[in-house]
């Protein structure tokens, strides 16, 4: 039981050692009070700006509509309206749309990770003959605003080359374009470029072919960047409005995501129920991030692989 506080103290000490202000300087009153106050103010500011809107949303989700309209910034509502949450869940079908969103997010995540890892692996490790040209073409697409691509992409989804079978009204219409994300490929490639080649060579001598090298060595060493791309892909699909609205349309409402559905019902919904629906929708990515961020962002990395 004594190990945890000790570790915490040690981590705090290490963090101080890495900072610009030395540990000894913290004992000087001017530094202690001046920087200490600045730290507290900065923290309060960050909480208000960053966490404030989310806390307000959760507070308002359990506040009566009348209370929210009369005094939206009140810290303590007159009573708690849990019924907002049940009404949102039952009457607004938030559960169904959340399920749709999760399906869209998981599909987009799988396709984004598949294309980003395999594309980056090919460009960075296998290095095909025209790899540099392909990389330049990928980079070029990053400079084209997404909204410009909306119409050509829509045409392609409605009448894809060779297949000539429309994906409109189908989740593939979201999953496939999501996979073709040049930013993810470039990000992943930059990470793969920095993986030590000696490890790949050791693996080749140990008996790895390109597939084993990919699955047994490159992917396990890339957990941090897989986490980053996963978060990007999942959050992007969770909050995307325009593209799902375009390709899933209004005709098959049962397929829509919360990001499309909620704005559509807003004019006809009591404010309390609507805010409760928003809070329920926001809960999923927040909880997901809190659960997985440690594993994603820390990862095993490269520590110990090489003399460093």
């Amino acid at each position: 039981m004594t190990v945890l506080p000790f570790r915490r103290k040690q981590r705090a000490y290490e963090a101080r050692q890495q900072g610009l202000v030395l540990d000894d300087d913290w004992h000087r009153p001017s530094v202690k009070w001046g920087l200490g106050t600045a730290h507290v103010l900065l923290l309060v500011l960050l909480v208000i700006v960053g966490l404030g809107p989310i806390l307000w949303l959760f507070k308002s989700a359990i506040t009566t509509t009348q209370d929210t309209i009369v005094s939206p910034m009140a810290l303590f509502p007159h009573g708690i309206a849990w019924s907002n949450l049940t009404d949102a869940w039952n009457n607004l079908d938030v559960g169904l749309y959340l399920k749709n969103t999760v399906v869209v997010a998981i599909g987009s995540w799988i396709s984004a990770i598949f294309i980003a890892t395999t594309g980056a692996y090919a460009l960075s490790v296998l290095q095909p003959r025209f790899g540099k040209v392909i990389m330049a073409a990928l980079l070029t697409t990053l400079f084209v605003p997404a909204v410009v691509l909306l119409v050509p992409l829509y045409v392609e989804v409605v009448d894809p080359p060779f297949i000539h079978h429309s994906f409109a009204g189908n989740y593939f219409a979201i999953w496939l374009p999501e996979s073709a994300n040049a930013f993810n490929v470039v990000l992943m490639k930059r990470f793969f470029d920095n993986l030590p080649r000696e490890i790949f060579e050791a693996a080749r001598i140990d008996g790895c072919g390109p597939f084993r090298l990919f699955f047994n060595i490159v992917i396990p060493m890339s957990r941090p960047i897989l986490g980053v791309v996963s978060i990007f892909a999942i959050l992007a699909s969770f909050k995307d409005y325009l593209w799902p609205l375009l390709v899933l349309g209004d005709t098959n409402a049962n397929l829509q995501t919360v990001a499309v559905h909620l704005p559509q019902i807003e004019p006809f919904t009591p404010l309390g129920d609507f805010l409760a629906a928003l809070a329920l929708s926001a809960l999923v990515p927040i909880v997901g991030f809190l659960i997985f961020q440690r594993g994603f962002l820390r990862g095993t990395g490269l520590s110990g692989a090489l003399k460093g």
Binding site: P196, E198, I199, E201, A202, A203, R204, I205, D206, G207, C208, G209, R212, N216, I217, P220, M221, T300, G301, L302, S303, G304, A305, L306, K307
Partner: protein
């Protein structure tokens, strides 16, 4: 165990750099061959060509009687130890050791036997469940060695495996590698830029410079009969003194004369030796001997002297070298020549 043959092997990179030039070399079964030379001499490139990590531009490499030019690294029956360990960071020590065996479809009991034998031999049995980041530099290097050993390959390739260790650990690991290699009897190519490492470890040494093999032979051959001034000054520490022959009143301007620091003694020339007067600049006391840095006109010389010899910095003294210890080199080519008659 297998022989390795380099037959006219060259490596030319895309920009025209000739890293290895027409290398001819035979390495016997079970032999410990050291490639040594300064940075950029082509020693690592030659090793990587044996491993299959570099394509061969010209010539043939044989392991045993198989031509290896276009054989994949995994099918060459080799194991390699890298300078930077190159351990798999996401695997435990045990998984690192077993990985290559699993890929070669060795049975599980056999993998367990080999891993535990290697771990015991390298004092790693307490660390099998740890990941590389939890190991010290010496332990990581031993895991890298273990990964090579468990494969039981025909050839070990080692690319400066000790260069990242501190001095004491380097000496210890050097001994461990030699003991293991002698016990296993596996043909080994060992690359280093450290001539002391080369001299102490190699059954034979190949000295390379700018992609060209300068000389190969036993440490004693290289030390006593270097074929040119490069080998003469590269092998041995401190380096051989090489001076124009006329400085010692020997031969013509077209000759250089070389002699080892330990062949210099204090005192006038006796029969069968040549003498010179030199200023003593600095004396380094090493405990069992001392290194005297001498100034002979424009030339700097080093003498390795017994501590009993009193030489004072800032004074001049008479020194002598036995004629038998002198080696003569041609000025224009740098190659060893016969002594002047």
């Amino acid at each position: 165990m297998a022989e390795i043959h380099f037959e006219g092997v060259s490596k030319v990179y895309g920009d025209g750099t000739r890293a290895v030039n027409d290398l001819d070399l035979a390495i016997g079964e079970g032999e410990f061959m050291v490639f040594v030379g300064p940075s950029g001499c082509g020693k690592t490139t030659a090793l990587r060509m044996v491993a299959g990590l570099e394509e061969i531009t010209d010539g043939t490499i044989l392991i045993g009687d198989r031509v290896m030019n276009h054989v994949s690294p995994k099918d060459r029956d080799i194991a390699m130890v890298f300078q930077n360990y190159a351990l798999y960071p996401h695997m435990t020590v045990e998984q690192n050791l077993a990985f290559g065996l699993k890929l070669h479809k060795i049975s599980k009991p056999e993998i367990a036997r080999r891993v535990h034998e290697a771990a015991a031999a390298l004092n790693l049995d307490q660390h099998l469940q740890r990941k590389p980041k939890a190991l010290s530099g010496g332990q990581r290097q031993r895991v890298a060695l273990g990964r090579a050993i468990v494969r039981e390959p025909a050839v070990f390739l080692m690319d400066e495996p000790l260069s990242n260790l501190d001095a004491a650990l380097r000496v210890q690991t050097r001994g461990e590698i030699l003991t293991l290699q002698k016990r296993l009897g596996t043909t080994t190519i060992y690359v280093t830029h450290d001539q002391v490492e080369a001299m102490t470890m190699g059954d034979r040494i190949a000295v390379m410079r700018e992609g060209v093999l300068q000389q190969q032979g036993t440490p004693e051959e290289l030390y006593t009969r270097p074929v040119n001034t490069f080998v003469a000054t590269f092998i041995g520490s401190p380096a051989m003194n090489v001076v124009p022959a006329p400085v010692l009143k020997l031969g013509s301007d077209s000759s250089l004369v070389g002699f080892r620091p330990e062949h210099i003694r204090v005192g006038p020339a006796l029969n069968g030796s040549v003498g010179f007067n030199a200023g003593v600049e600095v004396v380094e006391y090493l405990g069992d001997e001392q290194l005297a840095h001498l100034r002979l006109g424009e030339l700097s010389l080093v003498a390795k002297l017994p501590v009993a010899d009193h030489v004072e910095p800032g004074t001049a003294a008479a020194f002598a070298v036995s004629r038998e210890a002198l080696l003569f080199f041609a000025v224009d080519t740098g190659f060893l020549t016969d002594p002047p008659s």
